[in-house]
């Protein structure tokens, strides 16, 4: 009995010593510490503060050959934030040059008979030319513009009906009231700051344990570890645990010092749950890092392997692009990516205030995929020493 407790004590003591060694080693790399701090603070401030996927200040030029009330009234409706009416142009050639230079995002063309057509009861057309080099903004601009013109058109039609007396007794209409949940004003900063935090957590989870391990290989200190009375678990586990601890610390800093006070992003769900899931995610994703560390012999290789793994994970996670729009086979790849489930859980807890009763399946997937990654990583890790 006594022997067993002392064995457990030694086991714990060895872990503690190794964790301390990893943390000291990390802290001594001043630049790495600096970038850890930068990533969890400034980087999130930058991403949350300035990125928005909305159409803003699209510069609009007008070629008005009509010069009547109607054309002027319609063009005045193209207002900020979406559009910015820049002025008038006279000839088509000038428009082309401005589009080529990127000075104009869109142009609106009113033909000579525009208002006359409206008065005579014919259909009047205005032409909009949109720069579609950025297809997202091209479609957004077109959709905004058709909404504006549609509204204008509907008002003119109602005026006309009222004049003709056809509208007596009222005209039926459907009014749509939309409510946007979880982020009522659609603040991009709420979305971007959380996305960036989850991204950075992933970057470090994949990168740190592998670099810590391969650095030992490169410097030869791994030989020291091997001749010490440590088991492979006792070499591996402290590395993962210490990095998980550092990442959780960074997460806490950015949640409480950046995301909440600066962007006023609401945290609606349970914080212990969020940190619990994050710990689980970081801990299991380290399996991927261990796997990389067994493939690479030097840090340069770690670097390339890490970006090879990270970039698809980030781009295909649904963090930056709407996941519903992906083709089928990529959607399948997404299901396998732990980041996808972590993002669902992260947004679920932080923004939506969901609890385990709703998120159990995503958390389960993180545990499952992470468990597999960790086992494979650990297996490869142990095998390389034999």
């Amino acid at each position: 009995m006594k022997k067993e407790t002392s064995a457990a004590f030694i086991w714990l003591q060895r872990h503690a010593a190794m964790i301390r060694k990893e943390l000291v080693q990390l802290l001594r790399d001043k630049l790495l510490v600096f970038f850890l701090i930068y990533a969890f603070s400034m980087d999130i401030i930058l991403a949350g503060g300035s990125i928005s996927l909305d159409l803003k200040n699209a510069s609009l030029w007008v070629r008005d050959l009509d010069h009547k009330v109607e054309s002027r009234e319609l063009m005045q409706r193209f207002q900020p934030p979406a559009f910015r009416l820049k002025g008038g142009v006279d000839n088509a050639h000038e428009i082309q040059t401005m589009m080529d230079k990127g000075e104009a995002m869109a142009t609106l063309d009113f033909g000579p008979g525009f208002s006359e057509n409206i008065h005579k009861g014919r259909q009047a057309t205005t032409l909009m030319q949109v720069d579609a080099t950025n297809s997202v903004l091209g479609t957004l601009a077109a959709s905004h513009a058709s909404h504006i013109v549609f509204q204008f058109s509907l008002e003119k039609a109602q005026e006309r009906l009222a004049k003709a007396g056809a509208a007596s007794g009222g005209t039926p209409s459907i009014r749509d009231a939309h409510r946007v949940w979880f982020n009522p004003n659609q603040r991009d900063s709420w979305f971007m700051s959380i996305t960036e935090l989850l991204t950075i957590i992933t970057v470090f989870a994949v990168m740190l344990p592998a670099t810590a391990m391969v650095r030992e290989k490169e410097r030869g200190t791994v030989e020291q570890l091997l001749v010490s009375p440590l088991s492979t678990w006792q070499i591996m586990l402290p590395k993962i645990l210490s990095m998980t601890f550092v990442i959780l610390l960074g997460t806490a800093v950015s949640l409480f010092c950046v995301i909440r006070p600066i962007f006023h992003t609401p945290i609606r769900g349970s914080l212990p749950l969020f940190f619990g899931v994050t710990a689980l995610y970081v801990f299991t994703t380290s399996g991927l890092s261990l796997f990389i560390s067994t493939l690479a012999r030097n840090l340069a290789q770690v670097g390339l392997l890490t970006i090879l793994v990270l970039a698809p994970m980030l781009f295909l996670s649904g963090a930056w692009t709407p996941p519903e729009a992906m083709p089928g086979w990529l959607r399948f790849a997404m299901v396998v990516s732990p980041l996808h489930h972590y993002i669902d859980t992260g947004f679920g807890i932080l923004l939506k205030g969901a609890g385990m009763e709703i998120l159990w399946d995503s958390v389960g997937m993180i545990a499952l995929i992470g468990g597999i990654m960790l086992s494979v990583g650990a297996w490869r890790f142990r095998r390389q020493f034999h």
């Binding site: 990125i51 009047a124 032409l127 903004l137 039926p172 670099t211 340069a300 205030g353």
Partner: protein
Amino acid sequence: MNIQRIAAVMLKEWREIVRDRLFFILAFVVPASFMLLFGYGLSMDVEDIPMAVLDQDNTPLSRDYAYRFMGSRYFDFKGMTPSLKQAEPLLLDNKLRLILIIPDKFQENIIAGRTAEVQTIIDGTFPFRAQTSKGYVAAINGEANMELLAKVLAKKAGMTQEAAREAVQPVKLAVRYLYNQSCQSIWSMAPKIMMVILMITPPFLTALGIVREKETGSIYNIYASTVTRPEFLLGKLTPYAVISVLNMLILWLFAVRLFGAPFKGNVVFFSLASILYVVCTTGIGLIISVLVRTQTAAMVMTAILTIAPSVLYSGVIIPVSSMGDAAQFAASTLPATYYTEVVLGCFLKGVGWSILWSRIAILGIYAIGLFSIGYVMFSKRPSR
């Protein structure tokens, strides 16, 4: 400057790269696989939004209205829901993004010529998707309103349906997309992905290559040798720049052949700009390598300095003109911003020297500037 010594350093570096099999393969595989992955996967289209309908009216007219959503390719109809209580958890769980609620008396109100209200609840976690969904809803609703109006007009004024439809829409907007007529996402993405990849990989390769010598200590051979600073830097960096230029060609082929993006510009102009850009990004790698001592730090620093800025600030997702002031300033300091204009100009717009000459000049200044900074900061007599 001694050509022979430069060649010797170059050869040594090249051998080192080629002998590290995994590194050499990855130097080509990483950019190519990124291009494939992002080219196929990075779509900003908002389609197939999962939605449910809560029809409290359950009349022919309400079903007609709901059908407008179900039949749209923008929405993916998941089913009717008996109550909001049952739909809410699905919204929390990302199984639904939108719920359409049609309250009772919908049909009654319309027949009586009053305003009928409907409500949509949209998941706002991803603002861009919420915004776009709102646009779709507004368009569908507008269409429905127009048809209602046309029906009334047809009945009261005795017109045909077609004439009535035209009469209720006195003004129409015709949209023409320039440069990318069918507004294909991949046409605008493929050239920009090229820019992103060429922003990320050259600094990675370069910084790791130089810091590796520092960390393993082999740089002392250089410190002790007769090779001068410019000779060392030129010899050391050229192989990495060459790899990156080769990558640029491969990526260009992918963009044009595989993704079918049109290339309308001048090949000479584009090559010159691309080489300058690759030299710039290699220079960023040089500066990083001077600043850091360990390869870990080099990787982290490169990742932070290149990935986020190139994706977020250089106009890949949103153009510089619609950014906030701080972001616009950040964008103007990045060579990637200027190269984005060049790739878009060359691929889609077909413009060249006359409009974009200043971009080339700026890239050239950057290249010279970055290398001068790297040259000044790199010392053969390190203080520690």
